[in-house]
Every structure is written in C-alpha cells, then in structure tokens.
C-alpha cells in the first residue's frame, strides 16, 4: 500500500488547486461520457453506474474505500438518500475537506485499509481509483502483487454481510508501450505524481478476487478516461495564470505534462479503465 507520505504527494497538493480543474464534486477518477460531452453530467453517470453496481438502496450501509474528497459518498447520501455511508481515505487533506462538511449519515476516517476495523459490517463496498495504490511497484516486480490484492479482497469480504456487492474501478495496464519516449512519460507520471502506486493488469484483478468475490460484470472504458483527462487538461489550462501565481510555474507544468501523458496513454491503448461488479461469495 502507498504510504501516507506518498498519498500526500498525489492528493494533498492543495484542495483549491484540484477544485479548479475537477468537476464540482471533485471526483478525481474516470467519468462516463455516455450521451454527454459534459464532465459534470459524465461524473454523475459514473456515480449512478456505481449505485446500480453495488445494488445500493437507501437502507444499506455502504463503504467507500479511497473516498477522495467525498464526492461519491456525498452523492449517495444527499442525492440518492442512502442513510449510512462511510468513507476511508489516507489523505489528510481529503479527510479534512469531508469532515468540514459535517453531513448527517456520512462518516469518514483517515486510515489505510490495512489498518481499518469497522465497528459494524457493511452491505456493499465501492472503491474508485484506489486499487492502483494497493500493491507497490516493488511488490509487483517481485510477483507478490496478486497475494496483496487477494488480501485486500479478503478484508472487504470480512467487512461485509452475506449478499453484499462490491463495485470497483481501476486504471489497468493494457498494452506495454513499444516507444521509449512513451515508456518514459508513463514512468514519470508514476514516480512523480503517484509515487508508490502501480497500475494492475485486468488479469491480476480477476485472479485475486477468488475465493471471496464472484465477478458479475466487467466494463472497460478506455475512451472515457481519455476524454476525462482531456477535459481536466482543458480546465487546468484555462486556469493557467492563477495556478502559476498561487502554486508556481513548476506545479502547472508538472500537471500539464501529467495530464497530457494520461491522455496519450489512454488514446494509444497503453492503459485502460475497468469497472467491475462483484458479488460476495457467501
């Protein structure tokens, strides 16, 4: 698992910085551009997909592992009427943002999933864009990633009641780049923007759910992430002056390079995005 220091590099830059170029809910993961070109609508599409995939109802207890700035749990709570929603994040900046809102029925903890111990079991789990932080690049290179992923799925199984569903979203490695420059750009993003993280391959996720979860649905959304990152980049550039002024030239250029590299990686098929609906094996 990425350390808290590594998570801070990725997510604790400044909440106001991310607010400038993400959607209004600050959802920092792939949106679903079905029937729309608008990022706000596309993020709601994605959240609705998750609501369906986790078989949410208003009376269920739901857990969001890696809840970001709380956009997803807030949507479930405030717009879909789910009465009991919990989020965990390892980012202090994200935790503070959610705490400050004090939303009834919504709780958040600043904790790693490896240390998390719920007081009560859940009826469903969602995890969007956190899976990439579970195994370290070193564990992956040593071939230990599958057992690390399996341990994650075991924990989620233990935290849930029979009949639960788990809706998961992760960037996945698709085709290994053949061009050195492309390899270097993707490597730069990982080491600079997301230290301690690594993109899993879809087959690694598939292998590791067993014996805890049954795969019920898999969707890949490569083009949607290319479009999402393109929109983030457009928004970032539209705030260039204020970003340079408040966070410096280096920060602007770093994020411009990162989002451009992401667009390239999704467009060329080096990376893709998977959404997976899992049913608990009881």
């Amino acid at each position: 698992m990425s350390t808290q220091q590594e998570i801070a590099v990725s997510y604790d830059v400044a909440n106001d910085f991310f607010r400038l170029w993400l959607d209004k809910r600050m959802i920092y993961t792939c949106a679903l551009f079905e029937g729309t070109d608008d990022l706000e609508t596309a993020q709601v599409n994605k959240l609705k997909w998750f609501y369906e995939a986790v078989r949410a109802t208003t009376d269920k207890r739901l857990l969001d592992i890696g809840c970001g700035w709380g956009g997803t749990i807030e949507f479930f709570s405030q717009e879909m009427g789910v009465k009991d929603v919990t989020g965990i994040t390892l980012s202090r900046a994200q935790y503070n943002e959610i705490q400050a809102k004090s939303i009834p029925g919504l709780s958040v903890e600043c904790v790693s999933y490896t240390d998390y111990q719920p007081q009560e079991k859940f009826d469903g789990v969602i995890s969007i864009g956190m899976f990439e932080h579970i195994a370290t690049p070193e564990q992956s290179r040593a071939g230990k990633h599958i057992s690390v992923y399996r341990d994650y799925f075991r924990r989620a199984w233990e935290w849930t009641n029979p009949g639960s569903w788990f809706a998961l979203q992760s960037v996945i490695g698709f085709r290994v780049p053949r061009l050195r420059q492309d390899v270097q750009e993707i490597g730069w993003v990982t080491s600079t923007i997301f230290p301690g993280a690594i993109t899993p391959r879809l087959e690694a996720i598939i292998s590791s759910v067993n014996p805890y979860w049954e795969i019920m649905e898999v969707k890949t959304r490569r083009e949607h992430y290319a479009k999402t990152t393109a929109e983030w980049l457009r928004r970032l550039k539209s705030h260039e002056d204020i970003i340079r002024q408040r966070w410096g030239d280096e920060r602007f250029e770093e994020y411009q390079r990162y989002l451009s590299a992401c667009m390239m990686a999704f467009e060329k098929g080096y990376q893709s995005l998977a959404q997976i609906a899992l049913r608990r094996i009881d």
């Binding site: 085709r175 290994v176 780049p177 053949r178 061009l179 050195r180 390899v183």
Partner: protein, 87 residues
C-alpha cells in the same frame, strides 16, 4: 524465416532501438542473455515494436516480458511468423 534471417532482423532492431550500441548489435549471437548484450527491458520492447512493424505481427506483452535470452527472442519471432495467417 530462417534462424540467421531472424538474428539479422534482431541486430537491425537492436541498432534501431539503441543506436549507441551499434557495435554490440553487430556482435549479437544466439548464445547469451539480453543483459549480456546490454538489451534492457525498455530496449527489448522497442526492438519488439520495430519487428512488429516490419513483419506486421503483434506479440503478446506477457510473452515479450518473459524473454531473457536472444534464443528466446528468436523463438518467439519464429512462433509468430510460422503461425501468421496470410489473407
């Protein structure tokens, strides 16, 4: 393709992927590991891309990642060229 033809293609691909290693590319032989000839994993994938374009084939990433010897690379190319469907 014959084994010498494939070896020549590998030399060509190596020189393309790592022009600074032109001499090592010329001395490439069937015996030896990629490491011994200075072929890093990045260079190996770049070589693979060159060969894919040249022969109009596509290697599977996992098979490419497992290659550690020149002989292994040759066998992989042979496997793909032998089974290529011509339409």
């Amino acid at each position: 393709m014959t084994e010498p033809e494939i070896l020549n293609l590998l030399k060509e691909a190596f020189a393309f992927a790592a022009p600074e290693e032109a001499e090592a590319a010329e001395n490439l032989t069937l015996e030896g590991t990629l490491d011994q000839f200075g072929v890093s994993s990045i260079v190996a994938f770049e070589m693979a891309g060159y060969i894919e374009d040249k022969l109009d084939i596509q290697f599977a990433d996992d098979e490419l990642a497992q290659i550690s010897t020149i002989k292994g690379f040759v066998n992989l190319i042979r496997q793909y060229t032998d089974t290529k469907v011509v339409v």
